[in-house]
Symmetry: C2
Subunit: 434 residues, 2 copies
């Protein structure tokens, strides 16, 4: 994936909002998603400024030549798995055409205008049928930072040799703005088990990719080929019940993470992110290098991505007063020590077959500074409350709290692109009688 004419920062759109300095969706981005308006069936669209290009309408309007109609239809479907499985060259041709249609001066402006839907009027859905959701743990500070009650800061022995992961639950992944009920669950101690709504509701700031083309069962993916299997990227909030997690984790997290996972609904394509590639972060001097099948010079030179992330909290009171959110986490992808290409190659090394639409996440992206920690378990450890601007404070998330993740890829000389909101409001636990 190389930088090409579609990344030209001088390009402007006739959709005025796409030219705003702070939009996540300038004409250089063009992420894919699935949307609907009330009473309509979900269908594929492309974000441009504060508008959505309705791909089904655009196809019906004859805006794509015969050679692009197949892939344009895939981008118009109610799940984008077909689009994700497409050949990168075809995806690139679609991007070029979409950009031409939306560029200032496009002769098709009137026809395309009739295919625009205001994003404010639309509900977003999951962009794909997600067969599997794999969650990695690539941030050393997330595991080992010398904070609060973990002054020793030890990493697992395998940390620098392979990206650590577990299988998480795919069925409960939802798109931004889906309700997030406080889960019921079991916690416990030597005194015994306790059952009820979690008392330690947390978020985790993560960044994830969607698998494009999969691999056959029993056939590993070489690191050099791994990038060809990634369709695009989104933000991911891995909501966590920390008391449940502490009690249940013998074979890893299970119910502590299974109740809900929220992703940003727009999938920013691998091609859109090409300008933001950067070298892999340096390893500590005393850390081993990755084994030969997880490193090579080409990969190491641009396996990184220059993306910053924030987690923002607005309590119910702050929302009622119309106040700006408090930033709980301010971090970046470089706080992880493994690339998505390495995650993909490791995932398939034993022959496990990745499938189109699989979601593969970085895990919590925490830096060394407390302000860059990606979850409350690190920020407060459940004992040191974080103060909010209005004097309120939090150890864990409370009912009514709105947690939003945001991300932005930035590099001098290029137009910044973003991911939209990954947002959820914690609602009270459901009533349950055994």
């Amino acid at each position: 994936m190389t930088i090409n004419a579609t990344h030209d920062p001088s390009l402007k759109s006739w959709v005025a909002s796409a030219n705003d300095a702070d939009t996540d969706f300038p004409i250089q981005n063009l992420p894919h998603g699935v949307f609907s308006r009330p009473g309509e069936a979900p269908r594929g669209g492309v974000a441009i400024g504060d508008q959505i290009l309705d791909m089904a309408a655009a196809v019906a309007a004859g805006l794509f030549d015969a050679d692009l109609e197949g892939i344009a239809n895939a981008a118009a479907a109610s799940t984008l798995n077909g689009l994700m499985a497409s050949d990168p060259a075809a995806l690139s041709a679609l991007r070029t055409r979409l950009q031409a249609l939306l560029t200032l001066g496009a002769t098709e402006q009137d026809a395309v205008t009739r295919c625009l839907v205001a994003a404010a009027d639309a509900q977003m859905h999951l962009p794909a049928a997600i067969g599997a959701f794999t969650d990695y743990m690539t941030s050393a500070p997330h595991i080992a930072a010398a904070r609060h009650d973990r002054p020793e800061g030890k990493l697992p022995p395998c940390f620098w040799s392979l990206p650590i992961a577990y299988n998480s639950r795919a069925s409960s992944v939802v798109a931004s703005d889906h309700v997030v009920e406080r889960p019921l669950g079991q916690s416990g101690s030597d005194a015994g088990a306790v059952f009820g709504p979690t008392r330690a509701m947390d978020y985790e700031l993560e960044f994830a990719c969607f698998i494009g083309r999969g691999n056959a069962l029993g056939r590993p993916i070489r690191l050099a080929d791994a990038r060809d299997h990634i369709f695009g990227y989104c933000l991911l909030n891995d909501w966590s019940a920390r008391d449940v997690q502490r009690w249940e984790s013998v074979l890893g997290p299970f119910q502590a993470k299974a109740f809900r996972t929220t992703i940003s609904p727009w999938v920013v394509t691998a091609e859109a992110l090409a300008p933001f590639r950067e070298p892999m972060p340096a390893r500590p001097a005393d850390a081993p290098q990755p084994p030969p099948h997880l490193t090579n010079a080409t990969h190491d030179a641009d396996g990184g991505l220059a993306i910053r992330f924030r987690a923002e909290l607005r309590t119910a009171a702050m929302r009622a007063r119309g106040e700006a959110p408090a930033v709980l986490s301010d971090t970046c992808f470089a706080n992880g020590s493994w690339s998505f290409e390495q995650m993909v190659a490791h995932h398939a090394i034993g022959g496990c077959n990745l499938q189109t639409g699989d979601l593969v996440s970085s895990g919590t992206l925490s830096g060394v500074a407390l302000s860059s920690a990606g979850c409350l378990a690190e920020i407060t450890a459940g004992r040191f409350p974080v103060a909010l601007p209005d004097g309120d404070k939090r150890l864990w998330l409370e009912d009514g709290d709105e947690l939003t993740l945001r991300g932005r890829a930035e590099r001098v000389g290029f137009t910044p692109i973003g991911f939209g909101a990954c947002r959820g409001v914690v609602s009270p636990a459901v009533d349950f009688q055994p």
Copy 2:
């Protein structure tokens, strides 16, 4: 699910092999599966003795009245998810009709005979599209038995309060007789990481259920309702790479289990197993009882299942000489301490949505005796070889080894029913150049 006329042990079939004392598929069983013959598309069938009733052919022959045609078509499909999602009353009506068609003296014998396919001529496929595969760890001896290098025999503190589980990998689940390549993977120690084919290939004897009807996201399943969500059962071999597992497990097993999981392809319905229900196994005197939402008198009286299991090994040399297999594991479901109903209720307690076709497994069913241990990690610990009848021995599985799981539900006064074979042969690792 109660015992009814379909469980009558005096029933015989006009399919002679179904009346053999040692068949897994007498007329009281009637499990569902998906099969094909060379050049044919996979489709649903019902096992009877050494034959398969081709459900598509049976529907085409007009063997089902209008009120059964919908569910009979679901049983004829290339994946049985539609059948699994069906109402238990409809499933029961289909069972009654299938049994009538196959019972000695049935007037439809000639027509049904034309719908039979010899099982020996058929290849079996996965019975369902499996959205998720959850693996529990319900056997206390599997974790804590005082064997070899674990004389202390400690259970995790939560063991008696909840069924411990992890999310495993669904995409690499295959039906019996699918090839199982030795996986590549990473192991390691303080001296560093080592990459190559696993040197500690193991099996795990497990028993699993298929979820029938799911639950809505955010809506827990009460224990009292859990049985209604289980369609049927199969054997499951959770192939494991122990060296990989030891090195990678921080958030639980990942690549050590992701390369392949084999299930027996016939799904024995919950109704067929009704006669074999039994009380939950007694807990040790010093173990806490389950919390209130995971126990009630009705459940505890028949949450168990009287099923015995075996794991059989035949090396390439034994197969070449036509020798009988060596039994490595001889165990039973009662060696697990949690029922499938408890596993289902716990799985959904936080609001996680189970979906039709999800596979939920017991984990390795090991008893206290070494002969009842369900995997080589317990039998040999990688250091105490198990001797085979021909003088050969094994620490771990070697290339060419055939491992077969078998299971049989037995109770005095009822016809025993079985599950067919869950079989795989270990083949050499694929050639891989980084």
